[in-house]
Symmetry: C2
């Protein structure tokens, strides 16, 4: 549910010591929008601390939460390769610290640092790999089974996230979430 990548974070912190001019440390309060959908950015981010949500908003104002991102997760990196506008928004849930790096510096690292390169590829492979099973499960199983699964892997999920976020993560309405939670009691 909350993705992390500790190896990547560790390596970023090593790099940050070697080349402090590559990274900028930023802080955000809960509810701050760090990255906004459909905007153009020159930089991307790696989470040093805290939890964010990554979500898509559609024209009706409905949000679809893709994932919750924690330590070591990067975001805004896809735009380096596609050249497109950012295709999701990132909002801080807790207090969040991020390393910010420009596309240009990121590209330099990718080309000149093979360890960095490998870590980035690996992170992307993981991102591809976990999405499909989740969406598959969400579509094939009932809301009840989805909540039970969530509870199993994150017993205290309901203390960290709002009901609304959980519903948006599961792709259901708040009403359905409440109803199902009642059924479980």
């Amino acid at each position: 549910m909350i993705r992390t990548d500790i190896d990547f974070l560790k390596y970023i912190e090593i790099l940050n010591q070697k080349q402090p001019d590559y990274f900028e440390l930023e802080s955000y309060n809960p509810k701050a929008i760090i990255l906004e959908q459909d905007k153009r950015y020159q930089s991307l981010y790696i989470i040093k601390n805290g939890i964010t949500k990554c979500y898509l908003s559609d024209e009706n104002g409905k949000d679809f939460i893709q994932e919750f991102l924690g330590k070591g997760m990067e975001f805004g990196e896809l735009e380096v390769f596609s050249g497109n506008l950012s295709f999701c928004s990132i909002e801080a849930i807790s207090n969040v610290e991020v390393y910010k790096i420009t596309h240009q510096h990121y590209n330099e690292l990718l080309e000149n640092d093979s360890i960095f390169n490998r870590l980035v590829i690996k992170a992307m492979a993981v991102k591809i790999g976990y999405k499909a099973p989740r969406h598959s499960f969400q579509q094939s199983y009932s809301i009840e089974e989805n909540i039970l699964k969530l509870k199993k892997s994150y017993p205290d999920y309901d203390t960290i996230f709002s009901k609304n976020d959980i519903a948006n993560y599961l792709g259901i309405t708040l009403r359905s979430l409440n109803r199902t939670l009642n059924g479980l009691k």
Copy 2:
């Protein structure tokens, strides 16, 4: 709906001329399983020709089609980085030709050929980028809207794919698909 990556395919064919010992050309008939979920592989594939479906099967035997893959799409590459068993199955829909390359050779190319490296990263970025909007749309909109969207981008989708595949792609039952198609007539 049918993903392709022509730039990547072109580059693979250039590489194949330079280093013919890296690639093996294989052919499959419709319905052949090229890659099977939960098995271990030493090689991965790039599609030279034809259409395949990439799907996950759950324990109840339900299939969830992630994508249809066409020219230039690679599959089985995630396992190079994760070391895990294959997490989806790939089945030929039309006659299919693929380039097969071992994990080892693939890794060598990644490390020594920066153009190849960049194409692989780009392909992964695209894979990450298109999944989320699709699943978001599928969850937020009615079956009818999903079918209309499909028709728009692939007017002749129903001549290429079976009804069952379309239903599995949309994450709905065959019954629901038929009902909705009737409503559209």
